[in-house]
Amino acid sequence: MLETLQLKQTPFHARTSRLSLAQNWRRWAGYRVVGSYELSLEHEYWAIRDRAALIDVSPLMKYVIEGPDAARLLNKVTPRDIDRLAVGQVFYTGWCDEDGKLIDDGTISRLGPAQFRMTSAEPSLRWLAMNAVGLDVRVSEVTDQIGTLSLQGPKSRAILNRVCRDTLDGLKYFRCMQTYVGNVPVGISRTGYTGDLGYEIWMGAADALPVWDALMKAGDDFGIAPCGILAMDMARVEAGLFMLDVDYTAATHAWIEGQKSSPLEMGLDWAVSVEKKGYFVGRRALEREKREASAWRMVGIEVGWDGIEQLFAEVGLPPQIPAIAVRESRPIMSDGKQVGYVSTSTWSPVLKKYIALAHLQRPYYEVGTPLTMEITVEHHRKQAPARVVKLPFYEPVWKKK
């Protein structure tokens, strides 16, 4: 009765709910997913950075786009050059409205010459269908039909090599392949949301549990841990990856113009191919912005530990930093003037640094620019010294090797 009022369960729920000690559930795109399995995030976080973490990312919206004009549709909707996307390759991309402002972002995998799988954070069927008018292409949502696991961490390849029929050794960064786990056909892409070595594994929802079980069993020797989305949230900031409706507002959700962001402002210059041929949505605005330089830019900032220590020392305390990614807007100042804001900040255990994704006005977004970020020290507002750094904050050598 009224099951629409309950959050949906992912295909892995039977396993994740049993393993979750903290019963710390989070809401993600209408699903219930594990926030953290344990009361502390540390074990799960270090699984990502040192061993292997198994994360249920099934709520990602998924669409299959197929037909003779599939590539044309994607070339029209996204600013990336889909003609350069080979079969077995994956592109990350944002997509825009006519004014060149971001609506959503996700990955596009070319599964065949005329078949693609696209992921998004928000429902995108309507947007794709509207743009597909007159094209010979079929767009179907497959979110509920596909279970998705993200296996992230330096040991992830070794674990997959134990359970997959084919070796993963040849699978390069942002490439995908088809293979089997036991008898279950799976797609594997070398992608993730952590900036570590990692893979995403795609399977039919009915086959979800055997795949989970096989990975957990094979991963045991490597210290695999089921991991919730809170630890992943810390890792994705370290990787310099942003999140819709946290680090930018979808143009379709914005109440006012100022809330919108362009992909260039979000640092996606490399994913905006204005040199590709033909029209794409937002092209003119993005060309103009590329010529004129963006008014804003998302960058990384490091908050200096000395400064934090000093601010806390003034009240007789050691530094107090939340051990979790904080989605709270914080003003960024330069010489007493606000020049931007932080959208997500976190303590980085692997870097031993206090880092944040910041949105800064020109010219403050240049690497090395000294700034201050507002923090509260014993309920009082203080300015902690910080500086602009290059993204990503953390990139292990094995990420792309």
Binding site: T4, K8, P123
Partner: protein, 527 residues
């Protein structure tokens, strides 16, 4: 000053009259608010028609009550509680239902059961409408400037309006231009395919008007409905504790605390005019009250045609008021029940029973209901907006029992042959029969029912024509044209006589803006 001498006299203790009186008292004026009935509230009243069962007799939800009024008059301190009305459900003829909540995820999932395309469109539609409502909302709290006037104040007002329009993006302007001229059916056809969804959405566009969903202008009324949704956590939208009478009770308590006097059983016969100015009122009981300001919160017809002799107004003004359209188009059936009706699509008790239940299977259903009304009949298959107040506020009915409020459209004021007891009974029966199609056991549960026709609205609440907005929200009756050109600033051609009710800008609903704005204009003239 003698007992019957005041600074200001307010005619009518509906929410607007009470609010105007409270604001004037707050400014230190000696105020009396006169109410012809034995209770205050006007069309925002709660009455115990059957022992133990309390009805919000007329107005039954709060959607637009202005947040600044709630704050200024400290209404929460005086007992105002607005309880959530979280959902709308539309029973379908095939035994299924369509539900919508404020939360977009379950709503999307729910609509997806019926139409995946509409599910995503709904999200975007809601955002677009909320943005348009946000763009229009500031206009509601303006005193409408007169575009033909050359006065500095009107020019400044127009300038402000122009500057505001300029602040909107081109897209927003086009959207608003379209919204104010379009029919709700055309608007909804642009977005959706699923009939019960379109029917339910279109219903908000016809409430209180004598129009069908295919009539141009109804898209604006629909937009009016989104205004309440943008205050977010402030929650101006919902069901008032103790029914809608709870709202006016809080305002009355606030007005009294501020020093206003409220007299019930004090029907006004006439406004006394001396030296070309309003100078007081004569009551039906023969009493005379004096004041240099008289503010009417009655409907425009009574305000200008009944209370004041026409000779005090220009002919043209009188003609305009005579032509002001106040065609009542809706009725109300309030039902006392010995239990919860069992809806075929929602057996037992569910969270959806705490929200609205809408009989609106399609746009065509509502348009057909309108067709009958056009030719002087009540709809045989009417649009009904039901809520079960006792599911939200348990104090509305005895334990285990329930009250049900049914807003019914269309029921024309000018029914063929005129309303009589027989027609009222037939109307009530039509409503029960309509509900029975979706909740077959309702008839067995009925302890008592109160059937209210537009004629009854006029008789009991004193609204001429029985229109719930004191005058339809038609484009030619809005903003600087409400209630008449050049007199939209709450003043009237009779100096000292003011007008601040739903028939004035910005219109109806338990919004209170007219009462508040009128009081401000009174105070401005006082200086």
């Amino acid at each position: 000053m003698s007992v019957n001498t005041y600074d200001a006299i307010i005619i009518g203790a509906g929410h607007n009259g009470l609010i105007a009186g409270a604001y004037l008292a707050r400014a230190g004026k000696k105020v009396v608010i006169l109410e012809r009935r034995e209770i205050v509230g006007g069309a925002a009243v709660t009455e115990e028609i059957f022992p133990g069962y309390r009805f919000s007799e007329f107005s039954y939800v709060v959607s637009l009550l202005r947040p600044e009024i709630i704050r200024d008059l400290e209404l929460p301190r005086h007992g105002l509680k607005i309880l959530p009305l979280p959902s709308t459900v539309t029973p379908m003829d095939n035994g299924d239902y369509l539900a919508a909540w404020a939360d977009h995820e379950p709503t999307r999932r729910e609509i997806c059961r019926h139409s995946p395309r509409d599910a995503e469109a709904f999200d975007e539609y809601s955002r677009v409408m909320a943005r348009a409502a946000k763009a229009i909302k500031p206009v509601l709290s303006l005193v409408p400037p007169d575009p033909s006037s050359m006065s500095i104040r009107d020019m400044l007002g127009l300038l402000k309006l122009g500057r505001y329009a300029k602040s909107l993006s081109e897209k927003e302007l086009y959207r608003i231009a379209k919204l104010v001229t379009q029919s709700s059916a055309d608007l909804l056809d642009e977005w959706f395919e699923f009939d019960p969804l379109k029917g339910t959405k279109s219903a908000s566009g016809i409430i209180g008007t004598f129009l069908g969903p295919h009539s141009p202008g109804t898209a604006y009324v629909l937009l009016h409905h989104y205004m309440g949704e943008i205050d977010g956590a402030f929650r101006a939208w919902g069901f008032a504790k103790n029914g809608t009478g709870g709202v006016t009770a809080a305002i009355a308590a606030s007005a009294r605390a501020l020093g206003a006097e409220i007299r019930t059983n004090a029907a006004v016969k006439q406004v006394i005019v001396k030296g070309g100015r309003a100078a007081g009122v004569a009551l039906e009981n023969g009493d005379e009250l004096r004041a240099s300001v008289v503010l009417s919160a009655a409907d425009p017809k009574r305000t200008f045609l009944n209370f004041v002799e026409s000779k005090h107004f220009p002919d043209e003004f009188v003609t305009q008021i005579k032509n002001f359209r106040v065609r009542g188009s809706s009725g109300k059936v309030n039902i006392a029940l010995s239990g919860l009706p069992d809806f075929t699509c929602l057996p037992g008790e569910t969270p959806l029973h705490r929200g609205a239940i809408s009989i609106s299977p399609s746009i065509d259903y509502i348009e057909r209901a309108y067709d009958e009304a056009k030719y002087g009949q009540f709809s045989k298959n009417p649009y009904i907006d039901m809520i079960i107040p006792s599911m939200i506020d348990r104090d509305m009915a005895p334990p285990g029992h329930h009250v049900m409020s049914c807003f019914v459209q269309y029921a024309p004021y000018d029914i063929e042959g005129g309303w009589d007891d027989q027609k009222r009974d037939a109307f009530g029966e039509t409503v029960i029969r309509t509900i029975e199609r979706y909740a077959p056991n309702i008839r067995r549960l009925i302890v008592g029912k109160q059937v209210i026709t537009p004629k009854d609205i006029e008789r009991i609440a004193g609204i001429t024509g029985g229109n719930i907005f004191h005058g339809e929200l038609l484009l030619h009756q809005l903003f600087f044209l409400r209630p008449a050109p050049q007199w939209a600033d709450f003043r009237t051609p009779l100096p000292g006589y003011y007008f601040g009710a739903s028939g004035a800008h910005p219109g109806g609903g338990v919004m209170g803006a007219a009462g508040k704005l009128a009081a401000h204009e009174v105070l401005r003239d006082w200086r």
